[in-house]
């Protein structure tokens, strides 16, 4: 068993999760699309630290070079009607090394209102997003939390109800996986509560 498998097994055992050798999450979000079928290996699923049901695993793929992310995937189905697409990506993150295409689907626009948020993240949404709802979601409390609390390499993608939190570490320890899950759970709960208001 490799070191990464051992870390995930220990993490799963400590948190009462089911260990999986691999799981094809599917192309649910842009980062998972980069990996084709969105295969997570190793992976663990169940009630993640932070209190939400989901899956945590390592996503690895090649686009000229190998990219590795550790991700936590949870469902926030109710969000589809309010924010079909919302991406909050750490500034400077690269997910491919072979970008040759000059045109892309017009699927987002920059949403720039908070300096604290924009210093750390690039936030984009559907071009047809209700801006008022977005302002309510990104309350001062959430903006402050995003700027201070999550791991430094944390990003999240919300696409049609699938929320994927991710960090860029190759070989995370249990504490890093816990921090990833807790950050993703916090975002999921914030989105869910805003949808239900």
């Amino acid at each position: 068993m490799g070191e990464l498998d051992a870390t995930y097994s220990a993490f799963a055992a400590a948190n009462g999760l089911e260990t999986l050798p691999a799981l094809a999450a599917g192309p649910l979000t842009p980062l998972l699309v980069e990996a084709g079928s969105g295969q997570l290996a190793p992976a663990a699923r169940g009630k993640l630290p932070g209190g939400v049901e989901g899956t945590v695993g390592q996503l690895a793929y090649r686009r000229n070079k190998t990219f590795r992310f550790n991700v936590a995937l949870v469902e926030v189905a109710v969000s589809t009607a309010f924010a079909p697409r919302l991406f909050c990506i750490r500034r400077g993150r690269h997910t491919r090394d072979d970008e040759f295409y000059g045109f892309e689907a017009r699927d987002s626009k920059l949403w720039t209102e908070s300096t604290a948020l924009n210093e750390r993240y690039k936030v984009s949404t559907s071009p047809f997003q209700d801006p008022n709802w977005l302002r309510q979601l990104f309350s001062p409390a959430l903006v402050d939390w995003l700027a201070r609390v999550p791991p430094a390499d944390f990003s999240f993608e919300l696409a049609y109800g699938a929320l994927l939190g991710s960090v860029e570490r190759d070989d995370p320890d249990a504490a890093a996986l816990t921090a990833l899950c807790e950050a993703t759970a916090h975002v999921a709960e914030r989105i869910r509560s805003e949808c239900e208001e």
């Binding site: 295409y101 689907a105 017009r106 699927d107 049609y160």
Partner: protein
Amino acid sequence: MQINRTGIGLIAFFGLFGLAIAIAPFLVSMPIEAKGTLVLLGGIWALVALGLGLFARRQQHKAAHQDWVFQNGIRGSATVVKAKSSGTINEMPLMRMVLDLDVPGLADRQVKRREVMSVFAARRIEPGLTLPVCVNPEDQNDFVLVW
């Protein structure tokens, strides 16, 4: 579609180098055949840049128009009747759809629509799915499909 940084770089590259290659033969002495080849090559590059630039500008105008329709259009819904991918553009599926439009104040009707979508969005498009639409109040054939 919208231009990205790679696209701007491509336009700059082909435009600047194309012009340089096309103009340089007139500034230095070289055989007439070589001059002709370089002018032709540079001209093609410059035309590629011009074409990309015009396409980008057209897409910007289209985006601005879509924003206007989204802000001022009549809200309704579109139910997917048929959907299939008929190829890809820059790794993104080109979706062909048949939609049932239900817009308040307008007669229900079925329309065909083509959209270039992100992969994660395209996988959701299947018969039965209902998506919001905004219809141009001045032209009911002009609508934005919110996906």
